[in-house]
Symmetry: C2
Subunit: 328 residues, 2 copies
């Protein structure tokens, strides 16, 4: 499942306390926004201008029997602190995005191994506790939609967004809207390509060979040599390390194969790539473009473009969703 929102831990760094310069969700109702991952909660208030206030990153409560209730209490505390800091900004709705299998339409957290829940009616529980409308959605799908509204996917109504970090999560935009299939769509990281094992229980999953996490793990397993993330493996490959070159080549081949399949089946106008691995820049994008053109024939090859909102796409999308809940 798409359980990684905390991608920057793998490659790169992020303070988590500042949005990328110049990013605003635009004018509208003030809202509270949360982006909850397995490790951290990002929380913030957005004012009527769309400016973020009090953005911070705090630990996610340890999972357990009453995980949904404990999480909601923690979010309420964070909200109280934000409102105390900014008494003049009165939020009209709350956005909450989480990993796992999410049925946004019914407001249910169907399954999350990181957060430890099953079939939790999160939207209704949140609305009861907060006393205002709540938007509840999947973190990566929401982040992808934010890339469509504000970021790298803004020119493309039909796009696939791939977030490559600890794992690989994806989301499909169809006519500018997330395509969800009851929460099950977009599991590109767990789309099979071969026979290698994957911790999810399936075989040959893309993320077990091509995520930033898999690249550094496979290198360490092959050499016994701990590395500083996928970026380090890529640098070693460029410097002539054969093992690093093989592992990076296998990751690129698997990503190319997956994108080629997406191209044949969904024919997106663009594949927007974010997450830690996207910071490899041309070492990733140019290689994928060359390999993709080599693999395919009559197909319409999508633009490969970097995500622009980085780790902020989730909280920005959460705020945008909350704005929709106000309007609803």
């Amino acid at each position: 499942m798409s359980e990684q929102s905390d991608i920057p831990e793998v490659v790169g760094d992020e303070s988590g306390e500042r949005l990328a310069a110049g990013v605003s969700i635009g004018a509208g109702a003030p809202v509270l926004a949360f982006d909850v991952g397995g490790t951290d909660i990002k929380s913030a208030l957005f004012d009527a201008d769309g400016t973020v206030l009090g953005l911070r990153r705090t630990p996610t409560p340890v999972r357990g029997e009453d995980s949904p209730a404990r999480l909601i209490e923690r979010l309420a505390e964070l909200a109280d602190e934000l409102r105390a800091q900014h008494p003049d900004v009165v939020p009209q709705a709350v956005g909450l995005v989480v990993p796992g299998i999410v049925d946004a339409e019914s407001g249910i957290g169907v399954f999350s191994s990181n957060l430890g829940w099953r079939d939790a009616p999160m939207r209704d529980l949140m609305a009861a506790r907060f006393g205002m409308p709540v938007a509840f959605d999947h973190d990566v799908r929401t982040a992808s939609w934010a890339e469509h509204v504000l970021g790298g996917a803004r020119d493309y109504a039909n796009a696939v967004v791939l977030i490559i970090g600890t794992g690989i999560a994806g989301a499909l935009l169809v006519d500018g809207r997330p395509y969800t299939a009851g929460g099950y769509a977009g599991e590109i990281g767990h789309s099979p390509l071969g026979e290698w094992p994957c911790p999810c229980g399936a075989r040959g999953c893309l993320e077990a060979i091509a995520s930033a996490g898999a690249i550094s793990r496979r290198y360490t397993e092959a050499t016994g040599d701990p590395v500083d993330g996928a970026r380090d493996v890529i640098a070693r490959a460029a410097a002539g390390d054969d093992t690093a070159a093989r592992i990076w080549n296998e990751a690129l081949d698997a990503l190319t194969m997956s994108i080629a399949q997406l191209t044949a089946v969904i024919a997106p106008q663009a594949v927007v790539i974010g997450g830690g691995l996207s910071r490899a820049g041309s070492a990733l994008f140019d290689e994928l473009r060359t390999r993709l053109a080599d693999r395919l024939s009559f197909h319409r090859i999508p633009a490969l473009v970097p995500a622009e909102l980085s780790g902020d796409a989730g909280i920005l999308g959460s705020a945008l969703r909350a704005r929709q809940a106000v309007q609803a």
Copy 2:
């Protein structure tokens, strides 16, 4: 590209002159409908009750420089004959579906190797010649949509339809509507899985190993033994022929892999399988169900259901599209 509408030539038989018993497009305006393939044209008139009249199969004109114009003249002749036979049925619109890359929105036949055209403004040319509204669309996408309206996909708003015959063509239904991506979506037959060559110029395409055409061709290449289609190879595999068993097993593995990828990425409620190979029945469907469940983990496994309209889905869809053109 999805160039096969004439699937029954590979496995099974079909008179092409009778619809499956009881199938009607329902009450509405009388319409003319054409389903043009690389080999044959199916033509018919549908009356106000939705009953098919004069359904026949005639050869497609040989491709050449002026293919679009020659095809349209041939369709006009067929229409004249139908109208002479049924003078009391006055069609209000025409439906035309063709293989290749079709941009239904703009009414353009972008590319068809079988029909020999590029960027032909078929809808406008047809409308000028016929003097009535024309619906122009892709054969397999239209057939898939007909399966949604009248056939095996009727219970599923989100489905993938796979037509497995000479080649493998696919179509995606999203919220009950064909998802087209400018005509490029649904090329599941040319989605890559490996490194084997494909006549399309790409490598590892599904249809080069798992279509009915590929199964019989690969068997004959391996043994020098001509076979009577994929059905014969499947029968030989069941009777203990090792080569047949290997080729059928490789086809099943490739189909399983493709459906597993669709499941992870698009999560359709159902995969509807038609075309000649679907007549293999439980030898195909039960095997795919077992292998799919074995390959995947948390994924929502789609129902695998046989298409119901068989070779008639194209002409029925063409008539349904023509009805929409009347309303428009």
